[in-house]
């Protein structure tokens, strides 16, 4: 898979830009050198704290096969498996070694980029997983965009017209939204928009008869790069239903948070001053009030981005979306343990990294936060 190299390149460029432009980002906040140092110290400390967590994560994942009651090799292959096959699998998985040697072998494998080999396709997981990750990334990004745009605006309007019919409707919908089982919502959307009205496709990422030529495996990007705008339309159509299903819970949470945060800010003196100067309400709300109200909302958005990864498993299963969640789900049905292990590990790793980035960004945005 050649896009793997492309991703590595993109990632490295991204990292180098951050490092090079790091001081520039800071000058925006008129930060002093001392503050930059504290910040770097904070990031270093957070990374250092991450080491035991990452080791623990690998150990938990390592234990997934080893903790299976009875002979794991027998369980994986099923009761009908021949003795020689079971023995071969035991050797392959290294189950006969002492556990600490197995663990160090496993860790070494991870460090050298070996995520095991799928028992179903016989391909290395590290090769297969990129395509699935890209699909999940595209879906999650789309979902979080919907959640942010709709959620924040619904929250603002609810706070602006507090106790109006819009406020009540939006907040009741938000309450229902947070209690919604995502898989049920997905099925309902499929039924209403796919079956009943026939408006939108209900499964997959693309038209089967008109497949997208993959470069980055982010189909929206691929079709734009290739100038295939006819395909871009279908790709976007395929994104809508799973995107909305996945977006619902974060959207509801973001709307509720924005509303309460805005209500608090709208009562403050400076907003009243802006109003009394004759500033138009729209600008007061969207310019003055939002600036201060947005900080707690950003934390929530960060948390929700991590949560999306969990929701993606269910959404992808329902909508036949070939993402990493579906990859894990299919692996479970086939008792493909190396894929289950590595899939869970990779998703958890991304989850931890998102949380780290959010924490750091949060302290950048709000200088009142102390790095302890």
């Amino acid at each position: 898979m050649d896009y793997k190299r492309g991703y590595t390149f993109l990632f490295l460029t991204f990292c180098s830009r951050i490092i090079l432009e790091y001081p520039a980002t800071f000058s925006l906040h008129n930060a002093l050198d001392g503050e930059v140092k504290t910040m770097l110290h904070y990031i270093g400390k957070r990374l250092w704290q991450l080491v035991p967590v990452l080791l623990g994560m690998t150990f938990v994942v390592f234990m997934i096969i080893r903790a299976i009651p009875g002979d794991p090799a027998q369980v994986i292959l099923g009761q009908q498996a021949s003795e020689s096959a079971v023995k071969a699998l035991r050797t392959k998985l290294g189950l006969d070694d002492p556990w600490y040697i197995q663990y160090f072998d496993y860790l070494w494998g991870l460090i050298t980029g070996d995520l095991g080999e799928s028992m179903r396709t016989m391909n290395p997981v590290s090769d297969e997983i990129w395509g699935y990750l890209a699909a999940t990334f595209e879906l999650s990004l789309f979902a979080i965009l919907i959640a942010i745009i709709v959620g924040i605006n619904a929250g603002i309007i609810s706070a602006w017209f507090q106790n109006s019919w819009f406020d009540y409707t939006a907040m009741i919908l938000a309450l229902v939204g947070v209690s919604m089982p995502i898989f049920w919502l997905g099925l309902m959307l499929q039924y209403i928009f796919g079956v009943e009205f026939g408006l939108l496709p209900t499964t997959g990422r693309e038209e089967v008869r008109n497949p997208v030529e993959s470069i980055t495996n982010l189909y929206v990007l691929d079709t734009i790069i290739q100038g295939r705008y006819d395909q871009l339309g279908t790709v976007l159509k395929h994104l809508i239903l799973p995107g909305v299903a996945l977006a619902t819970i974060p959207m509801a949470i973001i709307a509720r948070m924005t509303r309460s945060s805005m209500l608090e800010v709208m009562r403050s003196d400076y907003v009243r001053t802006a109003r009394s100067k004759g500033q138009r309400m729209f600008w007061v709300v969207y310019k003055h009030a939002l600036k201060n109200a947005i900080i707690p909302v950003l934390t929530i958005i960060g948390l929700q981005m991590g949560m999306l990864l969990g929701g993606a498993i269910l959404t992808e299963t329902i909508f036949g979306w070939p993402g990493v969640g579906r990859y894990i789900y299919e692996a479970i049905n086939f008792r493909d343990y190396p894929v289950i292990q590595s899939g869970i590990l990779v998703v958890a790793f991304i989850f931890v990294m998102i949380n780290l980035v959010i924490d750091v960004l949060y302290s950048l945005i709000d200088p009142r936060i102390k790095y302890d």
């Binding site: 035991p52 967590v53 623990g56 994560m57 938990v60 994942v61 234990m63 997934i64 903790a67 299976i68 009651p69 309450l175 229902v176 947070v178 209690s179 919604m180 089982p181 995502i182 898989f183 049920w184 919502l185 099925l187 309902m188 499929q190 039924y191 079956v195 991590g306 949560m307 990864l309 969990g310 929701g311 498993i313 269910l314 299963t317 894990i328 789900y329 479970i332 049905n333 343990y337 289950i340 869970i344 998703v347 958890a348 989850f351 931890v352």
Partner: protein, 297 residues
């Protein structure tokens, strides 16, 4: 409390009985209409779960193959599924499973989480470091993934789903209790309890635990909501309750095959999940407003 002080200062006799913390919380809870609605929904499903077998028109697995995939009607209020089973009856029986998983998984994580949290918070030092690191590691996984990991080890079944959900919620309770213990530990009444020679275990159980209860109750109520959704999600993925159990998530998964011809087979089980979860969420929000002094005003 605020109207109590002036009365005592100007010397008028105190006629009104002072409201205890629980009574005060109940008054606060009653004020919120949504919380009362939530409590009503929860109570409704609890009653259904208890008297379910007596009111359900059909048994869990009673099949009438001649009545397959019938629309909701006066005979079958919510229709029938692909095996001719009455959906309403199955949902009624399913209430028992969902609430059972919700309550017991939360009780399990509450007991283990509180125990670990108390030890970590009270004794501190290396015990705290180890326990806190374990919590960090568990929280590093998206919860449904950790549940999938546990179930893929133990094997798919309702009981294992319950265990998995209990395990993934342990760090939430553990951290909550730990932070509460850390703040209570510094209170003067704990110092005086120590000074009069009270044993650690007694201080923990008669002072620290009761005083850290209110956030736990709030968290517990909200956790039941999440646990019910997670159990249904595991059931839906085929990792929880197995056929023919009338578990709501499993019913949804079974309904997928026929959902084009018979949308009611998937509509009602999902609605039941959503209503129950909504009930617990509303109740939890109300309890938080009533019990958490920081949220008051």
């Amino acid at each position: 409390m605020s109207n109590l002080a002036p009365k005592q200062l100007d010397g008028t006799p105190q006629t009104e009985k002072v409201a205890g913390p629980w009574l005060e919380a109940w008054r606060g809870f009653k004020k919120s209409k949504l919380a009362v609605v939530g409590a009503g929904i929860v109570l409704f499903f609890i009653i259904v779960a208890f008297i379910g077998p007596f009111i359900a028109m059909q048994g869990i697995n009673e099949q009438l193959l001649s009545d397959r995939l019938l629309k909701p009607s006066s005979t079958y209020w919510l229709g029938t599924d692909d095996l001719g089973r009455d959906i309403l009856s199955r949902i009624i029986h399913g209430a028992r499973i969902s609430l059972w998983v919700g309550f017991f998984s939360v009780i399990g994580s509450l007991v283990v989480g509180s125990f670990l949290g108390i030890i970590a918070g009270y004794y501190g030092k290396w015990i705290d470091t180890i326990i806190s690191r374990i919590f960090d590691i568990m929280l590093a996984f998206p919860s449904i993934l950790l549940a999938i990991a546990v179930v893929s080890v133990l094997g798919p079944s309702l009981q294992n789903a319950l265990i998995a959900i209990a395990i993934i919620n342990i760090p939430n309770f553990g951290r909550l209790i730990r932070s509460k213990v850390l703040s209570i530990k510094e209170e003067e009444y704990i110092t005086s309890a120590k000074a009069i020679g009270m044993k650690d275990i007694r201080i923990l159980f008669s002072h620290i635990l009761p005083n850290s209860m209110s956030p736990v109750i709030v968290q517990g109520t909200l956790a039941i909501a999440t646990a019910i959704i997670e159990a249904a999600a595991l059931g839906f993925l085929g990792l929880g309750a197995q056929a023919p159990a009338p578990e709501w998530g499993k019913m949804l998964a079974d309904a997928r095959v026929n959902f084009i011809n018979a949308p009611w087979t998937m509509f009602f089980p999902g609605l039941a999940i959503m209503l129950t979860v909504l009930g617990f969420n509303l109740m939890g929000d109300g309890l938080r407003d009533a019990l958490d002094p920081k949220m008051k005003n």
